[in-house]
């Protein structure tokens, strides 16, 4: 599965588990408006580390953290490359 599909699938799974309503996912959707809280993102990052074997959040400065869904995907794609 592509990194993009993996991330979108896990976003939906975490939202469902945490009983959050996920906004329609598109690249320019700001993460803060996605309907997920920081706990959801914490869980998402841990899951993605298990699946993809990387945690790009642990290796870059906080100032460069992604702010949109599209940037989140690119963030992981770059880390994987």
């Amino acid at each position: 599965m592509s990194i993009r599909l993996t991330i979108l699938k896990e976003l939906e799974a975490v939202a469902a588990e945490q009983q959050k309503t996920l906004a329609p996912l598109k690249d320019d959707l700001p993460l803060m408006e996605s309907g997920l809280d920081s706990l959801c993102f914490a869980i998402l990052v841990a899951r993605l580390e298990d699946i993809l074997g990387v945690d790009p959040f642990a290796s870059v400065g906080a100032s460069r953290f992604p702010t949109t869904v599209g940037a989140l995907v690119t963030f992981y794609e770059r880390a994987e490359a």
């Binding site: 588990e17 945490q18 706990l39 914490a42 990052v45 841990a46 899951r47 945690d55 959040f57």
Partner: protein, 444 residues
């Protein structure tokens, strides 16, 4: 009164302290000893006791109480570093060992052996200090000073009880059982690390034990092993860790006839109370009681004032109690209805983005699932919230599909706990690591 006096008082006929390897006949102490030869040199000394087998440790304790000035009860797994630190703090002049564990260099070395050898009777009149290391997980051991009087303060007269314990008698919980057995009328059977649970339960089943103790971790292991049915005790005692509703209910199922009690004690505060109503925690009304043991909750932590508390620490100035004489146990409690329940250790908190989670409280929810035998909750580092909660889980044999169960258990947790406390992932493992003291290993 010394330990030899206590034994004589209960009558020593047929009474034993028994491990798989050794059988110590209490009657033989009338004209025998385990330390003959070097025994005289130990009078009035501060002694490090470091032997592997618990029957040997029992023999040495009986020999030394009232004779040595101070006995430091060292766990068998200690290495030279811990022994030397303890010897320094206790100003030790002698070591009693069994040749099996490497002794450290002290002016007097004595070897403890069984069976007892002939020795002339002695007057054991000193008020010996019993020194117990606390079961801290890191750093040098903290040594806590008790006397036979503080250690036996919670022990009442009782009809003949045949005791067994899964504890090591060099830990506070196990020592309580050792002293209970010796000051009563019965025997004590012990489970060393070399003896499988199957062999131990077979042995104590044949011996017809009536009373048995262990930590909740010991009991989960025993229930899981399928060996629990080899005994039919009158009384089951849990201590040393939080006894949750799940383990109490599982014991009730296994032993419908037995009285099941969970005791609260700490090495520093002593035995505070014993609860026998089958429910986790303790009645809040207990806080209003005055008498030998007084309880108080300060900033969510249980404090205990008791005549059974330790006298002081050795080798450090930290007082053991606050100005009013209360020991801060570091055990966090929460009022639920008319009952206080234990939620975890003050230092063991997992911080999830500023929200605090006690591993033990989450484990209690996981353990309530019928397929779960035991669990260990711990923090996983996380770049977003600092930490998230994850858990290792041991399932009952034949519990079913792991994938289905993971979902079910996680959903149960999300239903009963705030979102940040629910584990985000379970890992199924065959067993959980335990400390030498029989407690769940928290940071292993």
């Amino acid at each position: 009164m010394s330990l030899t006096g206590l034994i004589a008082l209960g009558g020593a006929r047929d009474r034993v302290v028994e491990t798989r390897e050794h059988r110590l006949a209490l009657a033989d102490f009338a004209e025998g000893g385990s330390l003959s030869g070097e025994f005289d040199a130990l009078e009035g000394r501060s002694v490090i006791l470091h032997v592997r087998d618990m029957a040997l440790a029992a023999a040495a304790l009986i020999d030394l109480d009232g004779w040595a000035r101070r006995i430091v009860l060292c766990p068998p797994g200690w290495g030279p570093e811990q022994l030397e630190s303890a010897a320094r703090d206790a100003e030790a002049e002698a070591i009693v060992h069994d040749r099996l564990v490497a002794p450290i260099d002290l002016p007097i070395g004595a070897i403890c052996a069984l069976p007892l050898r002939n020795a002339s009777a002695r007057v054991r009149a000193l008020a010996t200090e019993w020194v117990l290391p606390t079961s801290g997980t890191s750093g040098p051991p903290k040594l806590v000073v008790h006397t036979l009087a503080t250690l036996t303060g919670a022990i009442a007269d009782a009809p003949r009880q045949e005791w067994a314990t899964m504890y090591d008698i060099r830990r506070y919980g196990g020592l309580q059982i050792f002293l209970r057995a010796l000051s009563g009328l019965g025997s004590l059977r012990l489970n060393g690390p070399e003896e499988s649970l199957e062999d131990f339960f077979t042995r104590i089943g044949k011996a017809g034990i009536t009373h048995i103790s262990g930590t909740p971790s010991h009991w989960r292991k025993a229930l899981m092993s399928g060996e629990a049915g080899r005994i039919d005790p009158d009384n089951i005692r849990l201590s040393g860790e939080i006894a949750d509703d799940a383990v109490l209910a599982a014991l009730r199922d296994q032993y419908p006839r037995a009285r099941i009690e969970h005791a609260y004690a700490s090495t520093e505060a002593g035995v505070a109370f014993t609860i026998g109503d089958g429910r986790a925690g303790f009645p809040a009304a207990r806080l209003d009681e005055t008498g030998q043991v007084q309880l108080r909750v300060v900033d969510g932590a249980l404090r205990i004032k008791s005549e059974r508390r330790a006298l002081r620490f050795l080798g450090r100035d930290t007082p053991i109690a606050d100005r009013q004489g209360f020991v801060d146990t570091g055990d966090m409690v929460e009022l639920r209805g008319d009952r206080y329940v234990f939620v975890g250790r003050r230092g063991g908190i997992i911080n999830v983005g500023g929200a605090k989670a006690h591993p033990e409280e989450i484990e209690a929810v996981i353990n309530a699932h019928p397929a779960v035998q035991a669990s260990r909750v711990f923090a996983r580092k996380n770049p977003i919230t600092g930490a998230i909660v994850v858990a290792d889980v041991v399932l009952h044999p034949g519990a079913g599909s792991q994938i289905g169960l993971e979902r079910e258990i996680l959903e149960a947790c999300r239903g009963r706990l705030p979102a940040y406390m629910a584990p985000t992932r379970l890992r199924f493992v065959p067993e959980l690591p335990m400390t030498e003291g029989g407690k769940l290993l928290r940071n292993g």
